[in-house]
Amino acid sequence: MKTGPMTEQLELFGCIQCGKCTGGCPVARKTVLNIRSMIYHMLVEPELDVSAHEELWDCTCCFNCVERCPKDVRPAELIIELRGQLVESGRIPETIGTALMGVFRQGNPTGMAREDRTAWVNDGNPDSRIEIKAAQEGCELLYFVCCTAAYDLRVQPVARALARAFQAAGLDFGTLGTEESCCGSGVRRLGEKGLFEMLVEENGEMFRSVGASRLVTTSPHCFNTFKNEYGLDGIEVLHYTQLIAELIEQGRLNLSNEVNKKVTYHDPCFLGKQNHVFDEPRAILKAIPGVELVEMDRNRERSLCCEGGGGRMWAEGTNLEERLAFQRVQEAAETGAEILAVACPFCLLTLEDAVKVQGLDEADQDGRTLQVMDIMELVNLALVD
């Protein structure tokens, strides 16, 4: 393709080739993806053969590059645009195509049916079935569950924990039930602009018709896109950690059960790095009696991406051998923590998988094990209704 129009549209001319983007890119060290070099090509070459760059699918959209660029160039947006070119020409990995098709047809990338989207309220125990109000009837707080939390068996407990906590705090909340559709964060980052715009329009309309003043999400990915990309004026968008921290501070959640564990917290890219929400998750953990919070060296702004974002949940990438999640769980184990706490469904899945593959869930010579849990699962343990 001709580089000129995209270079102008993305205003890549501001780039001074300082290398901070590639320097901080988590996948650059394990693949040939070099965003600085790609920008340079856009600047100096008249043409670019996008299809020759399979590594474009490696980007996790952690946005380290965007957050740190001294000239406000937004390098990751170039990757998204180039992916868009590949999508348009139909040259996408099969798994990604399937996921996108799922979003289009069933409102979720998992390949499961829309009508099964509310199955998560049921944990198999008939006594603990939660009643959730339909947001369409009107509510103050709209709880956006997220496709992964709704459909993935490992993540469903997080949604249930949140619903229970909202109930315990006496909040007037509701969900969209089977009418909830994918937020589209991954869709946009995979380059499927048209589908994303459609989701923004449909979801946006639905949110506005509910009339809730607040919208809370399970996933930082949904949170980020609703907050920064949807243009939902008049609705306050929160990630659950912000809301739960607020409720704890207001004394509306009774966290009396002890959880005597050493816990370390992994900052999700879409919550921490991109939206600067670092303190609320930690405040929640510290409010749980018995929790000893230890920090990894790479915390907060330097948290190591788990490789779940940017559509990577549906694409392995060009280097399957060295997964950053492996390195990350080792870093967690080094702190001596027993629990690696997360606040994102993707981090939960990728880091737990890494723990299993590395065998960290089996007792080591000191008898220690590492378990990956969402913050809400810990809150759930501590919460007394």
Partner: protein, 439 residues
């Protein structure tokens, strides 16, 4: 000019912007200034510039009022087309002899009408130094239309009469002059002055680009220096500001930084300081006047260090000017295009870029006669050949008490730093003059 016995005066050698600024400060403070300039007009190199970075003020717009002030100031004795011949210590003061070179034109009667230049036999045949050789003039001339003083001068190297002894049957210039101002009998005149302080503001020269023959300067007409480009782009230049060579607008413009600077082969290991900025400005001017041109700048480091400079560099990049890191090795011709050979060090590959205009940012060097000027005043030179100040905290003091440096004769610098140094030297001079006055 009669001097008040008790009020000491200052001598300023060189009336570029630093000399002009120093003169105005000293004169405004109430002291007399003898401002000696060897060209027919004041203004120096700044008068040759088109627009200045980073504000894009036109150079003439901000310079000419100061030039006019210097020409009109009651406390400034302006001696143009003159040179300092000798300087001697006289107690605390200096005795200075100035030679007023013959213009062969009486400046009291000349009205600057220009009829002589129109009539001159050599009209259109004398290479104009002010226009950096890209335009021609007559043997009797003013360097530029806003010259101060606006008086004509006969160029003794170009005038047929002065070089060969005769000019046809009659002097066409004399015949054309309505004021009868032309006088070929004029002699040089010597003036003796006594001054309390001296400021050296003699400016700079640019390296001959032929010292880098691999760039084809002088061989390819489409390879020019930065200062030539200024004249091309200037509204008062030979093309009235149109960027065109032989009537054609360039499509592929390449700028090359550090031509001769930072280069042991030319004997210029130092950085010329303002070329990164003027090249960015040039790129902007091209973009302004040739909207669809491809503009490339080859660089090693982009030195945009001053106030507003980094922001200007950002702005220029956003105007679709592509910066490629790599110092070109040579230029050769292929058909009717030039080809610039370089390595793009960010791609890590050798490249060949076509161009139909190449502008070389040539090194700033001391004046050709800097050694003589230095000897006249007992100045020291740093290894780079420019004058050397005493030390870091006294960068403009010289071994001679009462003699100060200002501007690019001390080392290359941009206009704000040059003006600051002009004022700084004025402060030193005022200190000396005020002390002398009190005694």
């Amino acid at each position: 000019m009669e001097m008040e016995r008790n009020k000491p005066a200052a001598l300023i050698i060189g009336a570029g912007i630093s000399g002009i600024q120093a003169a105005l400060d000293i004169a405004d403070a109430g002291y007399q200034v003898h401002l000696v300039e060897r060209e027919p007009s004041v203004g120096g190199h700044m008068a040759q510039l088109d627009k200045t970075f980073p504000t894009l003020d036109c150079s003439s717009c901000i310079l000419t009022p100061k030039m006019v002030d210097v020409g009109n100031h009651p406390n400034i004795d302006l001696m143009t087309y003159s040179e300092v011949v000798s300087v001697e210590r006289a107690g605390e003061a200096f005795r200075v002899r100035v030679c007023k070179k013959p213009r062969y034109v009486d400046i009291d009667t000349c009205t600057g009408c220009g009829s002589c230049a129109e009539a001159c036999r050599m009209k259109g045949r004398v290479v104009s130094r002010f226009d950096e050789g890209i335009a021609k003039r007559s043997a009797i001339y003013v360097p530029f239309p806003q010259a101060v003083p606006l008086k004509y001068t006969v160029d003794p190297t170009a005038c047929l009469y002065l070089t060969l002894g005769k000019c046809g049957k009659t002097f066409l210039c004399k015949d054309a002059c309505p004021a009868g101002a032309i006088d070929f009998e004029q002699q040089e005149e010597f003036v003796d002055l006594e001054v309390g302080a001296i400021i050296v503001a003699t400016g700079y020269d640019l390296i001959d680009p032929r010292t880098k023959p691999e760039f084809g300067y002088g061989v390819y007409p489409r390879v020019m220096t930065g200062l030539e480009f200024e004249r091309l782009s200037s509204a008062s230049g030979p093309t009235r500001g149109e960027i065109a060579i032989d009537g054609k607008k360039p499509k592929e413009v390449v700028f090359i930084q550090c031509v001769g600077s930072r280069d042991p082969h030319t004997g210029v290991p130092y950085c010329s300081r303002f070329c990164c900025m003027y090249t960015a400005k040039h790129a902007h001017l091209v973009r302004d006047k040739v909207p669809d041109a491809n503009i490339t700048i080859f660089y090693m480091d982009v030195r945009a260090f001053g106030k507003g400079y980094e922001e200007f560099y950002d702005r220029v990049k956003h105007e679709r000017v592509v910066y490629r890191r790599g110092e070109p090795s040579e230029i050769y011709r292929q058909g009717d295009k030039l080809v610039v050979l370089a390595e793009d060090t960010l791609l890590g590959e050798p490249i060949e870029v076509e161009a139909d205009l190449v502008v070389l940012a040539t090194a700033v060097v001391p004046r050709a006669d800097a050694q003589e000027t230095g000897a006249l005043l007992g100045l020291e030179h740093s290894p780079d050949g420019f004058f050397q100040g005493a030390h870091k905290f006294r960068p403009l003091d010289t071994p001679m008490e009462g003699v100060f440096l200002a501007g690019c004769c001390e080392g290359p610098k941009d206009i704000p730093d040059t003006v600051a140094q002009g004022k700084a030297a004025a402060a030193s001079a005022l200190r000396v003059l005020a002390q002398q006055e009190r005694e």
